[in-house]
């Protein structure tokens, strides 16, 4: 169980690494928004599953599950809020493009 937990946590860190590489290498803002939205969707959920597999008690695992559920609800909403803020403020991928 310790080995499976370690493998899942390292897989979560790997997805966070993908998101960070995309944050620094992608050229447009909407591409960066797309690639960083899997940091707190895929990477964080894999890491939380890995933590919950190795938890010392049942209450610990339930609290980790609550953190996962709240993150799964709120992370697409905050990504959508940033995207809508950028688009309504007139930020386009090409300058001069119509809405």
């Amino acid at each position: 169980m310790r080995i499976a937990s370690g493998i899942l946590m390292m897989a979560g860190i790997l997805f966070v690494l993908f998101g960070m590489i995309g944050l620094f290498r992608f050229r447009h803002f909407y591409s960066r928004l797309l690639i960083t939205s899997n940091i707190d969707a895929v990477g964080m959920l894999l890491l939380l599953v890995g933590v919950a597999l190795n938890s010392p008690s049942a209450a610990f695992a339930i609290k980790v599950a609550i953190v996962g559920i709240i993150s799964l609800i709120t992370s697409p909403l905050s990504t959508h809020a940033i995207l809508r803020s950028a688009r309504d403020s007139g930020y386009r991928m090409k300058p001069g493009e119509k809405a």
Binding site: M20, L77, A81
Partner: protein, 87 residues
């Protein structure tokens, strides 16, 4: 050098890169995006620290921090979108 120390070190390096991007970012939306994923990384580090020390009080702080970061991100995004009026 256990596994938890390695994971916490990697998350710390990513958070430092994130703060660099937050300072350097060309527009305000890049800074907002960097703040969003920085708070996500803080929650990850809190959960791994709670597992490393086997104490569950850190998880309560993690739940509260998740909700607070969501509220602050949405508030700043709405503040920028409506150009200063929040009514």
């Amino acid at each position: 050098m256990t596994l938890y120390t390695i994971i916490l070190t990697i998350i710390g390096v990513f958070a430092a890169a994130d703060i660099f991007k937050m300072i350097k970012g060309p527009t305000i939306f890049d800074r907002l995006l960097s703040f969003n994923i920085l708070s996500s990384k803080v929650v990850m580090a809190m959960v791994v620290y709670a597992l490393a020390t086997s104490q569950s009080y850190m998880l309560d702080i993690a739940i509260t921090y998740t909700l607070l970061s969501f509220v602050s991100t949405v508030l700043i995004a709405r503040f920028v979108r409506t150009q200063g009026t929040l009514s």
